[in-house]
């Protein structure tokens, strides 16, 4: 772990450094609480925990069996099933991993620099390494999803997290993270710094569902390194109001590595959603696809960024970015960027923004759908991204959320 004096100093200097994207936020008004460990019963019995996790479509059983649960400053790790433990799979808090494991110390803060911006710097200096650490040993294929829940139940709280996933060579894992807040109006800050490592010929499928509140400020910072022949699949979904969300995960791909990055953004209220994905084709034979569906209603502002950098060839990258505006006061901007530094990198993109077609509405009504039913069906179709790598259990959660978005799909 890079905890040198220089690093701390650099982070201190970055405490006022705004991010290049998204509105700048005054972080001083949020309370930073000391982390503490809690017992399962304490978590599960709290009504506000049930409220927050329920918004994600996570049943009490999922929360009970989750590998890691963080509620405000309190955490619980882990209820991992015995068979996984026997195979050497580790799920613990990052703080504990950094105390106990050399490899955790070796990789922490190597993909994201603490002085990246004020949000990362704050998490680095004050977060006390809350968050989860997941390790899957070489060759171990964990097909059952490992759930993690990151919940906020108290207003004006700053939740500062540092998550690490390490899937060793030839291993596989499915991680599902739900991030949510209790109540519809609560003000809170969520900063989540995530560093993921996918080994040679390894595979990580990472699904993240966000359900926030009108007052939530959300700043995830994610970087992923995929080694030769590895595969990283990410499925991100947000379907709630938010004060502002800004995120731009970056994936670096080695030789013959591949990634598929899906995101489904449903903006509402007055929220600002500045969400992107970036992939760097660093190794020959690597490939990336970035697929996003962006829906905006109310007075929301959605900025969908995507970037593929072709550093080596042959390599292949494709961006597909679609937007659907459901009200005249909403706003969507798609910013696809292709950056080729190698003549054998084939990079393409397609983007379109529109409203629901009158011809589609009329057609469905000609088959007996009411206008509301037709609208919901069209929205559900728009949001249905074919993501074949998603495990069935995760697909169920995604389908539940998609259903929820489409059923309230009015401007």
């Amino acid at each position: 772990m890079r905890l040198s004096k220089d690093m701390v100093e650099a982070a201190r200097k970055a405490l006022n450094k705004p991010a290049p994207y998204g509105p700048d936020v005054d972080l001083s008004k949020y309370d930073i609480l000391n982390p503490r460990r809690i017992e399962p019963a304490e978590i599960l019995e709290r009504e506000r925990v049930r409220d927050a996790s329920g918004k994600l479509g996570f049943t009490p059983e999922i929360v009970e069996k989750a590998g890691y649960v963080q509620v405000d400053e309190a955490y619980l790790a882990s209820a991992l099933i015995e068979s996984l433990r026997k195979q050497g799979v580790i799920v613990m808090s990052t703080a504990e991993a950094l105390r106990k494991l050399d490899m955790a110390r070796e990789v922490a803060w190597t993909l994201i620099s603490p002085d990246t911006d004020k949000y990362v710097a704050t998490a680095y200096l004050y977060g006390k390494e809350q968050g989860y650490f997941i390790y899957v040993p070489p060759g171990v294929k964990v097909r059952t999803p490992i759930y993690t829940c990151l919940l906020i139940t108290r207003g004006m709280t700053a939740q500062l997290l540092h998550n690490i996933i390490y899937v060793a060579d030839g291993a596989e894992a499915n991680v599902v993270t739900g991030c949510s807040i209790a109540g519809l109006h609560a003000e809170a800050l969520h900063i989540s710094v995530s560093e993921f490592f996918v080994g040679r010929d390894a595979k990580l499928t990472f699904a993240m569902i966000h359900a926030w509140s009108k007052g939530a400020v959300v700043r995830p910072r994610t970087a992923v390194k995929v080694a030769e022949g590895g595969r990283y699949v990410s499925y991100y979904m947000i379907y709630s109001a938010v004060h502002s969300l800004q995120s731009y995960p970056k994936v670096i791909l080695g030789r013959n590595a591949s990634t598929s990055l899906y995101s489904v953004i449903s903006g509402e209220g007055e929220g600002i959603y500045d969400v992107g994905s970036s992939a760097t084709l660093a190794g020959p034979g690597s490939s990336a696809e970035i697929i996003s569906r962006n829906l905006a209603k109310g007075r929301s502002r959605v900025v969908a960024r995507s970037e593929i950098v072709g550093e080596s060839g042959p390599s292949k990258g494709h961006i597909e970015c679609m937007g659907l505006i459901l009200s005249d006061t909403a706003y969507i901007s798609t910013i696809p960027l292709l950056d080729s530094r190698n003549s054998e990198a084939v990079l393409t993109h397609e983007a379109a923004i529109g409203k629901i077609g009158e011809d589609q509405l009329t057609y469905l009504m000609s088959k007996g759908f009411s206008e509301d039913e037709a609208r919901a069906l069209i929205i559900r179709g728009f949001l249905s991204v074919e993501a074949p790598d998603l495990p069935p259990q995760v697909k169920l959660s995604v389908d539940r959320v998609t259903e929820l978005i489409s059923s309230k799909g009015h401007g």
């Binding site: 077609g357 011809d359 589609q360 009329t362 057609y363 009504m365 000609s366 088959k367 007996g368 759908f369 009411s370 206008e371 039913e373 069906l377 069209i378 559900r380 179709g381 728009f382 949001l383 249905s384």
Partner: protein, 247 residues
């Protein structure tokens, strides 16, 4: 007509403020097959769309009666609930909306007869389309067969089929004809717009009435042999001049 199920009375039909058809009268009995013929842009699609209640087509004077009920001012989906369904000539494509999803929805909404829908699906060779996006990336034949299926499976009182045979191979035309026969057998009335001589030959034994539309007017309604041979021989204009009864 004692078993009359659809009646259009002296209807003037407008699109975006412009009158396209005037003084249309039409009467369709239960389980009957009616053919509507006319040159391009004569108002055939306009007539079917206005009867079905598709905007911006509107009946400004006159009225549309379905099984004795005045449905002139009913919205589109309500007419479907009442038993009047339009099959589009060119249905739009839907990305992400699966055929199976639509079929499930129709089954729930209309409490469909499983033996009828199964026979219909077999005739129209629908099963292989279930996992596909609705009309997206489908061939002409697949689109028409699916649209015919979605329209007839509801078992409406009246099905309005707008050129279900255009741009379709002979096999698919045969399947669509078989689907129409099954519908008629189940008492569904069918109003069919077609241009194709092949289809016209096939429906000859089934057709009760043929209507001829020319220059914004339904000029004649009569037996198949009164209209079709004359149109084939003298063209629409010649046939309209010879047969003109109204307008």
């Amino acid at each position: 007509m004692s078993n009359e199920v659809l009646r259009v009375e002296n209807a003037d039909i407008y699109v975006a403020g412009k009158r396209i058809l005037r003084g249309v009268n039409l009467s369709v009995g239960a389980g009957e097959l009616h053919i509507i013929m006319g040159p391009n842009a004569s108002g055939k699609t306009t007539l079917l769309s206005a009867i079905a209640g598709v905007e911006p087509y509107e009946v400004r004077s006159g009225r549309v009666m379905l099984a004795g009920e005045d449905i002139t001012n009913y919205p589109l989906y309500k007419r479907v609930e009442k038993g009047l369904v339009l099959a589009y000539q060119n249905p739009p494509s839907f990305k992400g909306v699966k055929v199976l999803e639509i079929m499930k929805w129709l089954r729930r909404k209309f409490d469909l007869d499983p033996s009828f829908t199964e026979s219909l699906a077999e005739i129209l060779d629908i099963h292989k389309l279930l996992g596909r996006d609705l009309f997206s990336g489908m061939s002409g034949g697949e689109r028409k067969r699916l649209e015919t299926y979605l329209t007839l499976s509801i078992m409406p009182k009246v099905a309005l089929l707008d050129e279900p045979d255009s741009g379709v191979d002979l096999d698919s035309v045969g399947r669509i004809l078989e689907a129409i026969k099954l519908a008629l057998k189940h008492g569904i009335s069918v109003v069919l717009v077609t241009h194709s001589t092949h289809m016209l030959n096939l429906v000859r034994p089934l057709a009760n009435t043929v209507h001829l539309i020319f220059k914004g007017c339904l000029v004649f309604s009569g037996l198949y042999d009164e209209v079709v041979p004359l149109v084939i021989k003298r063209g629409f204009e010649g046939a309209a001049k010879a047969l003109r009864r109204w307008c």
